[in-house]
């Protein structure tokens, strides 16, 4: 985890973007699915109830017709009922056919029952006992002990003599009706289920399409974080334009701030170092050995002033170089082609050290990348290679390789055939933040600055003996870190 200049934790941008329990897509999908299931369930229940009511209404109508049939053909003689002709409905004549006819009166109970009902036991014996007003109908759903369900309809009539009242009842086994309802129910829920799945798929597709700009935004932000892009480009929906415009402004302002910081430091460097150069120019490097005005105290003082001047110069140079690079706590790194930067540095150094006729041999992966600020890479390569050119006698070997499974790491090796660095000083020159006034003479501030930069990228630097005879500097930038951290 990185920290900003105030010590606060800085989360990577991608983590901030995806830092919630549920993604937007999951939230919308979950809410819409719940709503869909609620409404489809309610629709199913309403349709089921309506169909059932319609089936029962149909049953009542059919039973009513049966009652009218009975009424149209029945005759009564001295309390006995008989039919003038055969009943049109054969199920009345067939034992246990499932359709049963009854004529009853409240006072005498059942007066007639159809042949089909000879062995039929009425589930509710009280059904015939209740008086029914003339012209009224009564519908009942009767549950028997044997789990059979019956529909029963009674119709109250006044006989021809205008005195006697009877109830004509028809009882029918309801199993066929319920079978029909069950079939309908199966069909209904299958269809509703199918519709639900189809709607969910459509909803998923719509969500993905609708959230596509957000996905694109997240990908673009990741690319900026990885240094593959400078800003958010392309067109976004107008709802996101405000966000993307502000993000671009933020990125731009951070870069401008970095640039301003560097310019200020450059001005500071200029305004400190130029007077130092003037003072240095005014003072002779050593007092003449003889002369009228030259005394021993003069020489000692001059030497002390020169030493202090050199020390000031080293401290100013070292601290300014540290400050110039420690401003880069930016999460917005860039992707730098390391081989191109190396080429520029080598071209510059070959120009400067043209006299030395150094044989330069190198092995460079042209696709090797550095994830960070190009200035940092230039400082690292410039200082290390400058030392190699300065101290090397005739040969330098440079290697630049990408490392790590994702190829985002970088290994830099620089070897020369100079005098090398003594073993007891190898660790000292690599101490991070070594104070300028304790630096090894001759190493300048170059390696100390390189060590600082490499350390801030959580990289590693080692000094070894080269097979060429001089120093071998090995620098590794890890693949999992893309930006430097603040000191």
């Amino acid at each position: 985890m990185r920290v900003d200049k105030c010590g606060r934790d800085i989360e990577p941008m991608s983590k901030i973007a995806g830092n919630s329990t549920y993604s937007l897509q999951s939230r919308l999908l979950l809410a819409f699915s719940a709503l869909l299931f609620f409404f489809l369930g309610l629709t199913g229940i309403i349709l089921d109830r309506a169909f059932r009511n319609s089936v029962e209404a149909g049953a009542v109508e059919r039973l009513q017709v049966q009652i009218y049939l009975l009424l149209s053909t029945v005759e009564e003689d001295d309390g006995e009922f008989y039919f003038l002709e055969d009943l049109q409905e054969p199920r009345f004549s067939q034992l246990n056919s499932g359709l049963y006819g009854f004529i009853s009166s409240p006072a005498y109970g059942v007066l007639w029952r159809s042949d089909s009902a000879r062995t039929f036991v009425m589930p509710d014996p009280e059904f015939f006992a209740n008086r029914l007003a003339v012209g009224d109908t009564r519908f009942r759903r009767l549950d028997s002990v044997g789990a059979e369900v019956y529909f029963a309809l009674s119709y109250g009539i006044l006989w021809e003599d205008g005195i006697r009242e009877y109830s004509f009842s028809v009882v029918e086994n309801a199993a066929p009706y319920y079978s029909e309802i069950a079939n309908f129910r199966t069909s209904l829920w299958s269809w509703l289920g199918g519709v639900a799945v189809l709607l969910l798929l459509i909803q998923l597709a719509l969500l993905r399409w609708g959230l596509l700009p957000l996905h694109r935004l997240a990908v673009d932000l990741k690319k900026i974080e990885a240094g593959q892009r400078d800003k958010l480009e392309g067109s976004y929906p107008k709802e996101l334009e405000g966000v993307t415009d502000n993000l671009n402004l933020l990125i731009e302002s951070e870069r401008k701030q970095q640039s301003r910081y560097r310019t200020t430091l450059a001005d500071l460097a200029h305004s400190l170092k130029t007077p130092l150069a003037v003072i240095g120019g005014l003072l002779p490097r050593s007092a003449p050995d003889s002369g009228a005005g030259s005394t021993l105290p003069d020489k000692v003082q001059l030497q002390a002033v020169n030493e202090q001047l050199d020390r000031m110069n080293q401290i100013v140079s070292y601290q300014l170089q540290r400050a110039m690079r420690s401003e880069k706590a930016s999460t917005l790194s860039r992707q730098v082609n390391a081989s191109r930067t190396l080429r520029r540095i080598l071209d510059a150094l070959q120009k400067v050290y043209a006299d030395k006729s150094i044989a330069l041999d190198y092995q460079v992966d042209p696709k090797a990348l550095f994830f960070g600020d190009e200035r940092d890479l230039m400082e690292v390569l410039g200082n290390v290679l400058d030392n190699a050119f300065k101290y090397g006698r005739s040969a330098i070997w440079v290697s630049l390789q990408k490392t790590g499974s994702d190829g985002r790491g970088l290994r830099i090796t620089v070897e020369d055939d100079g005098a090398g660095i003594e073993e007891d000083k190898q660790n000292f020159v690599l101490q991070r933040g070594a104070r300028a006034d304790t630096l090894v003479q001759g190493q300048g501030i170059g390696l100390a600055v390189v060590t600082d930069i490499v350390g801030s990228y959580a990289g590693e630097i080692r000094v070894e003996d080269s097979q060429l005879g001089g120093a071998r500097i090995l620098i590794e930038f890890n693949s999992n870190l893309t930006t430097g951290s603040n000191e």
Partner: protein, 225 residues
Amino acid sequence: MRLLVVEDESLLRQQLEQGLGREGYVVDGAEDGKSGLYYATEYEYDAAIIDLGLPEIDGIALIRQIRADGRQMPILILTARGDWQDKVAGLDAGADDYVVKPFQLEEILARLNALLRRAAGFAKPKLEFGPLALDISAKRLTVNEQAVDLTAYEYKMLEYLMLHPGQVISKSELTEHLYAQDYDRDSNVLEVFVRRLRQKLDPDQTLRPIETVRGQGYRFNLNVT
């Protein structure tokens, strides 16, 4: 040798002008990029020292414009910041070497000597022509390994001729590179110097190193060894 120094800090510029003048260079100073560009494109210089942080036109732009104008003299850049971005940008723009501020005059002189020598095509610090050897770092001439005393102007003239061997150098060119602008240019003085040089270099008149090309100027005739 005529040098151009472009530096906005007047004290530093004066120090450079005086220090380099003491070493026998003819120095023109410019205080900003604009006047630096004027001098660099209007006059012939053997080398230029240019500060990167200049008003009007910055150092890198100035170097680019000087190179775009076809001027090939070596350029030494002075940089206060000392970071590699600046150094590489300066060298990319066409400079040949850099010195980080603050610096010692000795460092500037050493770099200048090397640049002048390289520009003339010499890899070693000593220019050797048969028995004649000129060490431009030590400003010392030997003939048959015997040191020969030269006055400052004799040395300057010989150095210029030896850095341009085989080329006809006109009297006006010699005057420009040996004297400051306000100097009273009398070509007779040059003839006196040449005569003295011939006597010191070749008293027996067997080598004849400096040839007079009638109506054109002088030519250093020995081959590099």
